[in-house]
């Protein structure tokens, strides 16, 4: 019983980690007042860039034995970070420097990113002459999925807490650091000021442009890692087009659910992952009708709406979206 529970818990965590990366990145971005709806696209780009890096490294090595463990992880990781950084920069340049509408820019970025992912995914599938419509990078994935050797000997505890690969722990650590930074550090205070009231922050001598750029690009890179984790760990190195699905939007939902607190995201992402696992494994009652599963998949969105509504009804100031969220800042328009 305990073992089964631990097993499902670990599945929920694995399902939740991409969302955690995405929501931590988006929270940082939103705290600077940028509502980046390009996150789904950025996560696609992060995933595919990692895949491209890994693909060419595997090709150049030939066999899995010839691969260097460090490079096998470092190359996809760098490609992923670089790809998501470029996406973040495009968003920043358009919305911060050129003051374009954030919703429109974000949606265009998502169109572009998802297209980019699916196009190069299709390209690599064609190049590898694979019989199925997917690319399998099991060797690289093997390096990504390395876990602590003694985890499996610790029974349920090991399965539930120690059975994950390093990226999962990175996700947790990054969100804890982000949470601490936002609440306790000077940088976090300045960042929140930029997101709440840029004019005041500007008057206090905080560089709005610098903070918006940094928060958004770093946020993009963190979100991109979510795409990489999904391909390399969750999907065992198999990329197939559109497999990532709506996870990017779920990550945005998670930001609202955690009321802009990355550290709460650690637990909330497991909850979201758990809901998904429950619905696909027929654990929740369906009354014999398979279609009911589809209704369960609504749950994360529904509870997000409930949280959004409740936080606006209670109207506590610390639980609101950043006040300037979605609005470009222009000094002379104050």
């Amino acid at each position: 019983m305990l073992n089964t529970l631990a097993f499902y818990f670990s599945r929920a965590v694995q399902q939740g980690i991409p969302l955690l990366f995405g929501s931590t990145g988006e929270t940082l971005t939103e705290k600077s007042g940028n509502l980046n709806l390009g996150i789904p696209g950025i996560m696609y780009v992060g995933g595919i860039c990692g895949v491209i890096g890994a693909f060419f490294y595997e090709q150049s090595c030939g066999t899995a034995a010839a691969m260097n463990g460090f490079l096998a992880v470092a190359i996809p990781l760098l490609c992923c970070l670089l790809g998501s950084l470029v996406m973040g920069l495009i968003y920043c340049f358009l919305t911060v420097t050129l003051r374009a509408n954030q919703n429109v820019t974000g949606l265009a970025l998502t169109t572009f990113g998802v297209g980019f992912g699916n196009f190069f995914g299709g390209y690599l599938i064609k190049m590898s002459n694979s019989a199925v419509a997917s690319i399998s990078l099991s060797a690289t994935s093997g390096f990504f999925r390395k876990t602590l050797p003694f985890a499996s000997k610790l029974g349920a505890f090991g399965t539930a807490f120690l059975s994950y690969s390093f990226l999962a722990y990175v996700a947790v650590v990054v969100s804890l650091i982000a949470g601490w930074m936002l609440r306790r550090s000077r940088t976090g205070l300045n960042l929140r000021a930029v997101g709440e009231n840029p004019a005041t922050a500007d008057a206090a001598g905080i560089s709005i442009t610098k903070y918006k750029y940094l928060a958004t690009t770093i946020g993009s890179m963190i979100a991109g890692l979510g795409g990489l984790y999904y391909v390399m760990d969750y999907a065992s190195g198999v990329w197939s087009n559109d497999a990532f699905g709506d996870r990017g939007w779920l990550a945005i939902a998670l930001v609202i659910f955690t009321i802009w607190r990355p550290d709460t995201g650690v637990l909330a992402s497991i909850l979201y992952g758990g809901l998904y696992i429950l619905s696909i494994n027929n654990i929740l009652p369906t009354g014999g009708v398979g279609a009911v599963k589809e209704l369960y998949k609504m749950l994360p969105y529904l509870i997000t709406i409930v949280v959004l509504v409740l936080s606006s009804v209670r109207n506590k100031r610390e639980n609101q979206p950043p006040q300037s969220l979605g609005i470009a800042y222009f000094r002379e328009e104050r």
């Binding site: 495009i90 920043c92 340049f93 358009l94 420097t97 050129l98 003051r99 374009a100 509408n101 919703n103 429109v104 820019t105 949606l107 265009a108 970025l109 998502t110 169109t111 572009f112 990113g113 998802v114 297209g115 980019f116 992912g117 699916n118 196009f119 299709g122 390209y123 560089s207 442009t209 750029y213 087009n241 709506d246 939007w249 945005i252 939902a253 609202i256 009708v289 398979g290 279609a291 009911v292 599963k293 589809e294 209704l295 998949k297 609504m298 969105y301 529904l302 997000t304 709406i305 959004l308 509504v309 606006s312 009804v313 109207n315 979206p321 969220l325 979605g326 222009f330 000094r331 002379e332």
Partner: protein, 366 residues
């Protein structure tokens, strides 16, 4: 990165319309050059061939031209739908969900009542059902926005996915083979299918949207309600001061917005697809945001911008087909073009001068 330090940026008061459109056109031309370069790099084809293919995708055959018009009409319809909300600064990015729900209501009528009532009556029921469904879907976030100022961008975004899962649920319920795909509904009786005018299956849709374009234009331009919603959009405080009931305007505008989205769903399901799936709306709810914004929320200009986006989407799928690339290539090209157009708005709204030179010219400049 800070342009402000090296250049002096100031807001333009007005810009002649021809200059604004020249800037936009310039952006599109540059975007096309970039797209051609990207395509050439990836396919090895010469850019001129690529352009020819894009044009061929829309104008190659009579059939292709009709498909273009149809695509454009539906996109325009969704864009018209979201526009009143945008003018009110209510960021309705839930068009996708509202279209889907309208389509779902239409499909449900066709599925359950097809053949059980006269066809004309069925179509009337479909129209009412789709409008009500779309309106309800839009009214839910509007109610919370009006009452508690709940963030509408995030709320409408979430409603999209609730709608998608709802459609997915019904697809799985209606399909008895277990694949979750509803085939063509009423293929033999054609119950609930829109009639073809003059043998053209898309003509009716196109005419309906053409009429809607003028109706929405007139509503926004000349009606009292259209004026009220633009006042609310410009300044909520001003609106309250002059005695406009802001909550009422929000609810009324979103009711119209959702109802029009419902009609788009009706046209998609009853007029062209005759089936429903989670991809029936096909991202148009999001593309419409861009169409509407690019046209500065003017329904007449939206004819142009929706043509542009439909043209590009048809053209890029033709490229994908001719050069053996997958369909996602079109999204990359669309993305690049959108980045350029979005960026070009800056040069329409702001004037850039060098920081030092400007101050010498007029010292009083703020």
């Amino acid at each position: 990165m800070n342009l402000g330090s090296r250049f002096h940026i100031s807001k333009r008061a007005t810009i002649p319309w021809y200059l604004a459109w020249a800037i936009r056109l310039g952006a599109i031309v540059i975007a096309m050059i970039v797209c051609a370069l990207v395509t050439t790099l990836l396919t090895g084809e010469d850019p001129i061939g690529v352009y020819a293919t894009i044009i061929q995708g829309s104008f190659g055959t009579v059939r292709k031209f009709w498909v273009l018009l149809q695509e454009m009409a539906i996109l325009l319809c969704v864009s018209l739908a979201v526009t009143p909300a945008f003018k009110m600064r209510f960021w309705n990015i839930g068009g996708e969900g509202q279209v889907l729900i309208g389509g779902l209501a239409t499909a449900a009528c066709m599925f359950y009542w097809g053949g059980k009532m006269p066809n004309a009556l069925l179509i009337v029921v479909m129209i009412v059902a789709s409008i009500v469904a779309g309106a309800v879907w839009a009214l839910i976030p509007a109610f919370f926005k009006a009452r508690w100022n709940t963030n509408e961008t995030l709320f409408t975004l979430m409603m999209n996915y609730v709608a998608i899962q709802l459609v997915s649920f019904f697809c799985n319920t209606w399909d008895r083979k277990g694949s979750g795909v509803v085939g063509i509904i009423n293929p033999n009786t054609r119950a609930g299918w829109f009639p073809e005018i003059g043998g053209q299956e898309y003509l009716l849709n196109i005419l309906i949207v053409a009429v809607l374009t003028f109706v929405v234009y007139a509503y926004l331009r000349w009606s009292k309600q259209g004026y009220e919603l633009s006042v609310v959009g410009e300044s909520e405080r001003t609106a309250r001061y002059v005695g406009i009931k802001v909550e009422k305007v929000i609810l009324r505008t979103m009711l119209i917005s959702g109802a029009l989205c419902g009609i788009a769903g009706l046209l998609l399901v009853g007029g062209t697809d005759h089936t429903i799936s989670t991809t029936t709306a096909g991202g148009r709810g999001f593309t419409a945001v861009m169409v509407s914004w690019l046209a500065k929320f003017n329904p007449i200009f939206m004819v142009l911008t929706s043509f542009l986006l439909a043209f590009l989407s048809r053209g890029s799928s033709q490229i994908a087909q001719n050069f053996g690339l997958n369909h996602a290539f079109g999204d990359i090209l669309t993305g690049i073009i959108l980045f350029f157009i979005i960026g070009s708005e800056f040069f329409i709204n702001y004037r850039i001068g060098s920081a030092t030179g400007k101050e010498k010219e007029d010292g009083t400049h703020a």
